[in-house]
């Protein structure tokens, strides 16, 4: 199996700017990238007095497009800067961008990675951590409200379909809703544990069946700061001030808001592992996951995105794709990859791509029995 390490750049950009980013990719000759629709909620104050009594803040959801593109270490800075420049990501509300270290498994892994010899200075901040959280459909709005009101971060929400227990129930599975919401947010690393705690509390993730959360390391990034729709009352909006201070310091250490003294937070048992990201032709991921369950892997979230491949002559990949994220213990990685190969996941029939990243901390409700085993 061809394995190569690469950098994954994720750009979350306001839908109106998505065309610009896509044009940039075309101009630069980025041959493979995927995009997915999502939304980011912001607070909107009610200006009608009576509605104000009902709730002073309501959420307003803005459409975003999430691009993912693979590149190598040498090109990372160049592409990163180009995207920031094109979409003006330093302006609050335009979007976020971040990069991660990943390993790609695919027969044509090398051709997926974008390379360009031009060198530029690195931009963006280091010391960030991403949080990935899967909850029941409909629960994200309440959670976002807490997150925004407390200024933790600006979440990005996408839709997905959960798998796991329900698929082992036979036809009775229809009684358990499979629709999930995926909430992703980026915080400062020193805040990560507290933010994790905060979200677990806000989403009641320590109760059974409520959801699943993990954090993932981010190499560098530039994050959206816009949390409210209201126009500026001063010369600059609070978001612009925050964004300017970020630039001034060159990091977001100053925004650290949780002290290291934990107040009353329960001791939670976290676990670690590797996140496998499967991407294949729509409809095929589900079948593969069903077969994988005999290795003891259950529970994955499938979301749908579109893969764009720009050179038309060799149009190997189908645009409609399924992506699945599943977390496995690190020692099982090779076994799973081998199994995927045996299941013909990488053939032209399914057009599979796999990449993995390390997960230092993950959490979900676990029964007493399972906790003792860890």
């Amino acid at each position: 199996m061809n394995q190569s390490s690469a950098i994954r750049i994720t750009v979350v950009v306001h839908k109106d700017l998505a065309d610009e980013v896509q044009k940039l990719f075309t101009n630069l000759g980025v041959r493979y990238f995927s995009h997915e629709l999502g939304r980011y909620p912001i607070l909107k104050r009610n200006h009608i007095f009576l509605l104000n009594l009902y709730s002073s803040n309501q959420l307003y959801n803005l459409p975003v497009v999430i691009f993912q593109v693979l590149t190598d270490k040498k090109t990372e800075d160049f592409l990163f800067n180009k995207i920031i420049e094109t979409a003006d990501l330093t302006v609050p509300g335009h979007g976020s961008i971040y990069t991660e270290d990943i390993s790609v498994f695919c027969p044509v892994a090398d051709s997926l990675v974008y390379r360009n010899p031009i060198k530029t200075k690195p931009m963006g901040f280091t010391g960030l951590t991403g949080i990935f959280c899967i909850i029941q459909r409909g629960a994200a709005d309440t959670m976002s409200h807490y997150i925004l009101e407390n200024g933790v971060a600006v979440p990005t929400i996408t839709y997905g379909v959960g798998r796991g227990l329900r698929d082992r129930l036979g036809l009775l599975r229809i009684t358990i809703p499979k629709e999930k919401e995926i909430v992703k947010l980026i915080v400062h690393s020193s805040d990560a544990e507290h933010a994790l705690d905060f979200i677990i509390e806000a989403g009641k993730l320590d109760l059974p069946g409520k959801g699943f959360i993990f954090e993932y390391p981010i190499k560098r990034g530039l994050i959206n700061t816009k949390i409210s729709l209201d126009g500026p009352k001063q010369a600059a909006s609070m978001e612009q001030v925050i964004s300017a201070l970020d630039q001034l310091y060159g990091n977001i250490d100053w925004r650290r808001q949780f002290t290291n003294f934990r107040k009353g937070a329960r001791k939670r048992s976290y676990f670690e592992g590797v996140n496998i990201h499967l991407n294949a032709k729509e409809g095929s991921v589900e079948k593969v996951l069903m077969k994988l369950s005999k290795l003891g892997i259950s529970g994955a979230t499938i979301s749908q995105d579109r893969l764009i491949k720009l050179d038309e002559e060799n149009s190997l990949f189908n645009p409609a794709r399924d992506s699945a994220n599943l977390l496995i213990p690190k020692k099982m990685l090779n076994e799973v990859i081998a199994e995927l190969e045996a299941l013909d996941f990488f053939t032209e029939e399914t057009e599979g791509i796999v990449y993995t990243m390390e997960i230092p901390r993950a959490f979900s409700y676990q029964s007493k029995h399972n906790q003792q085993k860890k």
Partner: protein, 636 residues
């Protein structure tokens, strides 16, 4: 997630299974109850409190409404489990595995099969009996003898629109390129029809049938198909996969007009009843209108139906008949459609779905749901609707409550008194003892049968607010129309399915609830205008023309994604719940005011949702721009 146990199917005992099924069913049941409760309680309270007329057959109606809720519960779940995933999968694979010819044949076929299966379309046929052949011969012909030709033409219209809709998505052509020319053609035909008496009378039917053609079964299928195709297409970055329903509600209008144009030369012009029976039509024309039946026997004597006199046994038999009929109807609708889809998936596309058991269960649910739902519509909602609809005019003029006719036995004409007024005209009346009070009832000769000594007493009701034809009464009727349109839309299953897809595709930026509200307000406004059309006697053209011109203007201002959604919601609004209620309302008022056709309300009810959704889109667009840049705020 990361557990290292060997996992297999869990075996679940019947007790645990019930513990899973009951909350699941309860949740789905409540969802549907919440959507239906508004329209039902609204109509009931209106009749009881505003009009103050008791509801007849309340028992059967309650049973029917319960059946509507149960039916909807099964039907919607079946749609989500079976029909929609099936449609989406076929849509995904169709452009990859099929060539253009296969796509065209498939779309045409599915359109025709799905439309002929559509339950709402039979409502049109039912309303045919309310039309008099001498008033509108062409309309009468199309709804009675020519009904099969009419339905087939509607179905072919839907088939072609699916072909165009799918091709549009595959090649990424914007909806307005199809929308504007077809609207121009339709408006031109309507203007042409306006000058021909016969054709003018079918223009209401034509515009309405476009709306009726896309119902609860067709729409979710078409929407799913469109979404599937758009996912797999390379050029569909600007289109969202919606918009096929729109075309499906425009093309049938054209095909009905074409059928009308074809038959028009062979049919007589509208004429008075006396002339009609006195040889005003030729033998061929009579054959076209009535087939082998004799027109005199059909319209000579009208038989009175005595619903109240039915025995309990007869009632039960009627209910059982209705139930078995709706089951066989549902079977006729589902089997060809599902069979054709499944065959196509397995035989031509050679694809399989990961969860086939879910799919079959979904189709079974749709079948059960549709059967119970149809039964409930017929015995519950339709009955309630027609009661309220027929009595609504009592808010502004006095009407006879024919369904609460009472027979007074051993009536002695000697008790009739004569009263006079200031002009000296006299009127006969008698005293009626009703429980413990005595009231004066006008005496009509024609209601008294001297042989059996029975006087049939038809209670008269209204007007609600003082004088005949008072403005306040009209206002109440209009307000009723608005609220009826609004609350009926909330219960519409096809809209619910569309809104779910919209929320899914836009990842929650356009919320289901918001879209349904916007459409509901639109339908309400449209119904109001439709009723106004009947009151004031505005020709349909005068409503359609300005509205569509305004809509085209708004469409040019809007973003493609909202255009598709907005125009689709027009086709979706009118399904099995709104159509019977609104048509009955229109026909009821039309009857009281002696207006030939009560059609046209549906088409005006279908314009305004486009308007409200486009306005909602523009408003959301404003907030979106505000989020991106604050330049505009600074400019102010």
């Amino acid at each position: 997630m990361a557990r290292n146990e060997k996992e297999e199917t869990i075996h679940i005992g019947s007790k645990e299974a019930l513990a899973l099924i009951i909350p699941y069913f309860r949740k789905k049941f409540w969802e549907q109850t919440k959507s239906v409760v508004w329209v039902v309680s609204y109509m009931t309270l209106f009749q009881l409190i505003v009009l103050r007329i008791p509801i007849k057959e309340a028992g059967i109606i309650s049973l029917g409404i319960f059946a509507v809720i149960i039916g909807l519960t099964f039907f919607m779940e079946g749609l989500y489990l079976g029909i929609m995933p099936l449609g989406e999968t076929i849509g995904l694979r169709l452009p990859q595995k099929g060539n253009l010819f296969t796509i065209i044949v498939f779309c045409l076929f599915v359109g025709i099969v799905a439309t002929l299966a559509e339950p709402a379309i039979s409502v049109l046929k039912q309303s045919g009996s309310a039309v008099n052949p001498w008033d509108a011969p062409l309309l009468f012909h199309l709804l009675n003898e020519g009904a099969d030709v009419l339905f087939l033409s509607i179905a072919i219209g839907v088939g072609f629109s699916i072909v165009f809709g799918i091709i549009r998505i595959i090649y990424g052509i914007s909806l307005s390129k199809f929308l504007v020319p077809s609207l121009i053609i339709l408006i031109l035909i309507t203007i042409y029809a306006f000058n021909n008496e016969n054709l003018r009378l079918i223009s209401g039917l034509a515009w309405d049938s476009g709306v009726v053609a896309t119902g609860s079964l067709t729409v979710p299928l078409i929407v799913a198909l469109g979404l599937g195709v758009s996912k797999a297409s390379r050029t569909s970055d600007t289109t969202t996969g919606f918009g096929v329903v729109t075309l499906a509600s425009l093309f049938p209008i054209l095909s009905v007009f074409v059928v009308g144009l074809y038959f028009a030369p062979n049919l007589p012009q509208p004429m008075p009843k006396e002339k009609f029976f006195a040889g005003g039509i030729t033998v061929e024309q009579s054959k076209l209108l009535f087939g082998e039946k004799n027109p005199e026997t059909l319209f000579g004597i009208s038989e009175k139906e005595h619903n109240s006199q039915l025995s309990i046994h007869n009632k039960l038999v009627k209910i059982m008949e209705g139930m078995s009929e709706s089951f066989s109807d549902s079977l006729q609708a589902i089997i060809p459609l599902a069979g054709c889809l499944i065959l196509f998936l397995y035989v031509i596309l050679r694809e399989s779905l990961p969860f086939t058991d879910e799919l079959y269960l979904g189709i079974l649910f749709v079948f059960i749901g549709l059967a119970i739902f149809n039964f409930g519509i017929f015995f519950g909602l339709s009955k309630l609707g027609s009661q309220v609809g027929n009595k609504l005019p009592s808010s502004f003029r006095s009407i006879e409550l024919t369904d609460s006719t009472r027979e007074i036995k051993n009536f002695n004409p000697k008790i009739v008194f004569t009263a006079t007024d200031e002009h000296g005209t006299t009127e006969d009346f008698f005293y009626l003892k009703d429980k413990k009070s005595f009231s004066q009832i006008p005496f009509r000769d024609k209601n008294y049968d001297s042989k059996s000594e029975i006087y049939s007493y038809v209670p008269i009701h209204g007007p609600l607010f003082g004088k005949e034809d008072n403005l306040l009464g009209y206002f109440v009727a209009l307000l009723f129309a608005f609220l009826l349109g609004y609350s009926a839309t909330l219960a519409e299953p096809a809209l619910s399915a569309l809104a779910t897809s919209v929320e899914e595709v836009t990842v929650g930026t356009v919320k289901k609830r918001v879209l349904i509200q916007a459409v509901g307000i639109g339908v309400g406004l449209g119904t109001l205008l439709g009723i106004l059309k009947i009151f004031v006697g505005i020709p349909l053209l005068y409503i359609l023309l300005p509205s569509y011109i305004f809509l085209v203007f708004l469409t040019l201002l809007s973003k493609p994604e909202f255009i598709d959604i907005a125009w689709d919601s027009a086709g979706v609004t009118t399904g099995p719940i709104t159509v019977p209620l609104i048509i009955v309302l229109g026909l009821g008022i039309g009857n009281q005011l002696n207006i030939v056709d009560g059609f046209g309300i549906l088409s005006s009810a279908a314009i305004f949702p486009v308007l409200t959704v486009l306005v909602m889109g523009l408003w959301m667009e404003r907030s979106r721009r505000q989020s991106l840049t604050n330049i505009e705020a600074e400019e102010k």
